[in-house]
Amino acid sequence: MLDLSPNRTLPDRPDPEPIDLEALRQIVEGFREMPGGMLPLLHAIQGHLGWVPAQAVPLIADEINVSRAEVQGVLDFYHDFRRSPPGRHLVQICRAESCQARGSAAIEARAREVLGIGYRQTTPDGALTLLPVYCLGNCACSPAVRVDDEILGRMDPEGFAELVRTLREEAPAP
């Protein structure tokens, strides 16, 4: 049953790993004076952890004096914010029209085949999380994919298979 108690402070679900709340508090501190700084703040937390833990929600609400619902509302609205830890690399395949016109569907099919996962899922070895993206602005060199902050153009299914093989063979950071 839904807990509507105003004193409920626990997050909806436990975070899957321990969170250094003090580090988060320090990040939030830096955005207290920024007008409308919620997105930059959430980007900063995600930049630090790779995702935004549920425990960050009441913490942000307290620190910048908004309701938890307001924080949660922003977190839920935007596709970019992740509520669970991703793989070591983020791999995005562009699904927009220009890339479709140049065969992105074949890359998507190859991705499913070699990775055995769908969009918004992480490979069991934790190497990568697969995400859809709607235009990387690389449309004159379609089809495009993105690995972390690097954009790759003129991609083809074999190139993609090779790319993810390399990413998965990389040793995890200690």
């Binding site: 007008p35 409308g36 700084g37 919620m38 997105l39 930059p40 959430l42 980007h43 307001e70 509302g73 922003v74 839920d76 609205f77 935007y78 596709h79 970019d80 914010f81 927009a96 029209e97 220009s98 890339c99 479709q100 016109a101 140049r102 993206v133 709607y134 235009c135 990387l136 602005g137 690389n138 449309c139 004159a140 060199c141 379609s142 495009a144 993105r146 902050d149 690097e150 954009i151 790759l152 153009g153 003129r154």
Partner: protein, 527 residues
């Protein structure tokens, strides 16, 4: 070696050029020059926008810049052997860059500096006419600046084509303790990349345009709202803002004039809807990007409730040249009420994809065949989506219609942000129509029912048409659903998603398994 003349070699740092290996080419050139003891000065410039030739390397010679491309790192030793540092011929040589027909035929006003300079060099920017517009604006009254922009005929380049000068005047005349300039650089339309190129390749141009807008309207704070999909642009522009501030082009007293304007770049978070201006304001205020009702117009009550100029990056980047060369210079380009130039972006299944800045009035046929060189696959071009994911699909029979706002509007299409995505004859237009509805469903902010629910029902109805389940009934239902979305949505997402759907159905009914005589009569919105 210091007495030797260092040959200037240009390798683009544009993210599209990087996406096809420009970094490897740059490193290979440095290593090879070092190995041979050849003195070079490597400049990382913006892209010329001839993307099928990227990585496109240029060498400065006494007769001008000579281009080579597309290069791979392994081509580099052979290029040195051929004497490319002296501009000697090579199988990948393209001759003088400015004489490559693709570039020679363009009218580059907004993109005049694109690819010529080191994007972050203030000296380069000034050496190529930068900040002349701002300097002139500082000598004018705000009313004179606005008049100049009005006289230029500049209309919003984001897609809505509203006269920029009138928008500025509204903000100027709105009394308020604080006003803002917001640059819409949330370039989410597939097939568009001109904002990205500008932010990465000529960021000071955008900063200068925003500073002029601020002077004209009395705004003192600006925001550039860009995309998380553009990490390179975000970094480049962030650095450019810092350097412009240090040099006195931003801050508490612009060029010691006593006028204040400062600027911040914000990153979106993967929501297409935030390219809609009121959704963008919500996002800048730190909220979910739910579209606002209008009125009030943002020019009256915008960011944090204050009068706000919101212009597309292309509109703002067109302002410096209008101020530096005068309204008449700019207005002389174009046709009818579509004045000036538009940086068209050629993408999709096209041989020569890239940026083509031309005066309004040329045809799609000229862009697709004279510039684009036809399809990349070598098959016939069957359909072209103009103006992003909410733009109509244009069939070959309409390729000769001149590209101007009014002519496109008359045929139920739109030029939008100038994105042009070509498809060859293997395209399944029923799938593209379904995708348009799917995209709308994914990206709907959820405020309006016709958009939020209609797009989902639209996917199902298209599926039923294709599967031939009560085809006639579902065709009528799709038409009715599209009418509801067109007329019942607050913003362009729900309000225009029917354009690609209905144009695909009208021009390519066979892909839906439909005979053209069985189509329901159009209601006038889409030709």
């Amino acid at each position: 070696m210091s007495d030797l003349v260092h040959t200037r070699v240009y390798v683009p740092i544009d993210s599209s050029a990087l996406s096809v290996g420009a970094e490897g080419v740059a490193q290979a050139i440095l290593a090879e020059a070092d190995r041979r003891g050849a003195p070079i000065h490597l400049v990382r410039n913006g892209s010329r926008g001839l993307f099928w030739l990227e990585p496109l390397v240029e060498v400065e010679t006494p007769v001008g810049r000579i281009a080579y491309g597309p290069l791979r790192p392994r081509d580099v030793p052979e290029l040195f052997d051929a004497g490319f540092l002296q501009g000697q011929p090579h199988r990948l040589g393209q001759g003088l860059t400015t004489q490559i027909p693709y570039l020679a035929g363009q009218e580059r006003l907004t993109f005049a500096r694109m690819g010529l300079t080191d994007p972050l060099s203030l000296d380069d920017y000034r050496a190529h006419g930068g900040f002349l517009g701002l300097e002139r604006a500082l000598d004018m009254t705000d009313a004179e600046v606005i008049q100049e922009v009005k006289d230029s005929g500049l209309r919003g380049r984001g897609g809505a084509a509203f006269p920029t000068g009138i928008k500025w005047e509204t903000v100027r005349n709105a009394p308020a303790p604080q006003k803002y300039v917001v640059c819409n650089a949330d370039e989410g339309d597939s097939g568009t990349f001109s904002d990205r190129m500008l932010m990465e390749g000529d960021p000071y141009c955008l900063i200068e345009g925003m500073a002029i807008a601020a002077l004209a309207t009395g705004a003192t704070q600006g925001y550039i709202y860009s995309r998380s999909e553009y990490p390179h642009a975000f970094r480049t522009l962030g650095t450019a803002i810092e350097r412009a501030r240090e040099a006195g082009y931003l801050g508490s007293s612009l060029l010691d004039s006593g006028r204040t304007f400062d600027l911040e770049i914000r990153m979106g978070a993967g929501a297409y809807i935030c390219g809609e201006e009121t959704s963008m304001l919500e996002s800048l205020e730190g909220k979910p990007g739910l579209v606002r009702f209008k009125p009030p117009l943002p020019a009256i009550s915008g960011l944090f409730g204050m009068p706000t100029v919101i212009n597309n990056a292309m509109s703002l980047a067109s302002v410096p040249i209008i101020l530096s060369k005068g309204a008449a210079f700019y207005r002389d380009y174009g046709v009818g009420r579509s004045q000036g130039t538009l940086p068209f972006q050629l993408a999709g299944n096209i041989r020569n994809g890239g940026l083509v800045e031309k005066a309004f009035g040329l045809t799609l046929a000229a862009l697709l065949y004279d510039y684009g060189g036809g399809s990349a696959s070598g098959r016939p071009i069957r359909a072209v989506q103009v103006g992003g994911p909410l733009g109509a699909y244009v069939p070959e029979s309409q390729f000769e219609v001149p590209l101007d706002y009014e002519a496109y509007s008359r045929m139920g299409a739109m030029i939008g942000h100038g994105g042009i995505v070509a498809f060859d004859d293997t395209v399944d237009m029923a799938r593209m129509a379904r995708y348009a509805m799917e995209f709308c469903a994914i990206e709907s902010c959820g405020k309006c029912t016709p958009c939020r629910i209609g797009s989902r029902r639209g996917m199902e109805v298209i599926d039923r048409i294709v599967a031939d389940r009560d085809r006639a009934g579902n065709l009528a239902l799709l038409q009715s659903l599209c009418d509801t979305m067109l007329n019942g949505s607050l913003c362009a997402l729900g309000g225009m998603a029917p354009y690609p759907v209905l144009s695909a159905l009208r021009h390519f009914p066979e892909d839906f398994g439909v005979q053209s005589q069985d189509l329901p009569a159009p209601k006038g919105e889409v030709a």
